[in-house]
């Protein structure tokens, strides 16, 4: 069946607006009566992705599909791409600039958190072209 499809513009370099998309998805899932654990996992994974797009890619777009048993999130940007995905997946590895660290980001936990909180995650990235990140949270399955 086709679920509820949502699309968001994630602004670049605006940390005050980062998180609007994930907050909105969280609200909608709550209204729809989804399991709190699934909501938490979707919201955290998506927020990390949004922050990554703000820090590294100058913004991008988020596409979310909500179905009864799963939530799919696609984050698409036209930023610099990820040169070494394996490194980027390591907890603690970060290329975030210093001013971002002073805001409390740049712990090198973004991608590891997304992986931790989702049931499936794939990264399609090309240096100089951009990154597309796909994540799936299965609703009645605790990861």
């Amino acid at each position: 069946m086709s679920g509820l499809s949502l699309k968001y513009e994630v602004p670049g370099d605006d940390f005050t607006r980062a998180g609007e998309a994930s907050s909105d998805v969280k609200r909608k899932l709550k209204k729809l009566g989804y399991d709190p654990d699934a909501i938490r996992r979707v919201a955290i994974a998506m927020y990390e992705g949004e922050i990554n797009m703000v820090i590294h890619a100058g913004g991008g777009q988020a596409f979310v599909t909500i179905e009864p048993q799963r939530v799919d999130i696609v984050l698409e940007d036209h930023g610099p791409g990820i040169a070494d995905v394996e490194k980027a997946m390591q907890a603690g590895y970060s290329t975030a600039p210093d001013q971002v660290r002073s805001l409390g980001f740049g712990a090198g936990m973004g991608l590891p958190n997304m992986k931790k909180y989702t049931d499936e995650m794939t990264i399609d990235t090309e240096v100089g072209k951009g990154t597309t990140l796909k994540m799936t949270v299965l609703v009645n399955h605790k990861s």
Binding site: F15, T16, A18, G19, S22, S23, K26, P36, R40, A43, I44, Y47, E48, I51, L103, G104, F105, G106, A107, G108, M109, G110, P112, N113, K116
Partner: protein
């Protein structure tokens, strides 16, 4: 114990989010790196931090924390205050440091202490 009872017991000053005062506290987490906190903090936690920016409010909301306690009188940004009021996330403040607060909370909430 509710957020309001915690604030009274530890003489914490309220900066924002009074509408969330009835929230039940079930644990505590301390940390300032937001992604780290997002990975570890649990629903119902008191979050001890010096991060008073708008992103901290987002993290508290996403992790479903019961409240934020800003330790060592760390500043709360104006836009963060507005967001906390809107999302009904209580923001409390204390002159004490994070360690002292964590110890005090573990005495108040022995069942939630590690």
């Amino acid at each position: 114990m509710t957020v309001q009872e915690l604030a009274a017991a530890l003489s914490l000053t309220v900066l924002a989010g009074e509408d969330g005062f009835d929230r039940e506290i079930t644990g505590c987490y301390a940390g300032d790196l937001l992604s780290w906190v997002m990975a570890r903090a649990e629903s119902g936690d008191v979050w001890l931090t010096v991060m008073g920016n708008i992103n901290a409010i987002a993290v508290a909301s996403l992790t479903d924390a019961a409240c934020i306690v800003l330790t060592e009188s760390a500043a709360l940004d104006e836009d963060a205050k507005k967001r906390a009021d809107m999302q009904e996330i209580p923001i409390l403040t204390t002159e004490q440091d994070t360690y002292a607060m964590a110890v005090a909370i573990s005495r108040l909430l022995p069942e939630a202490a590690p």
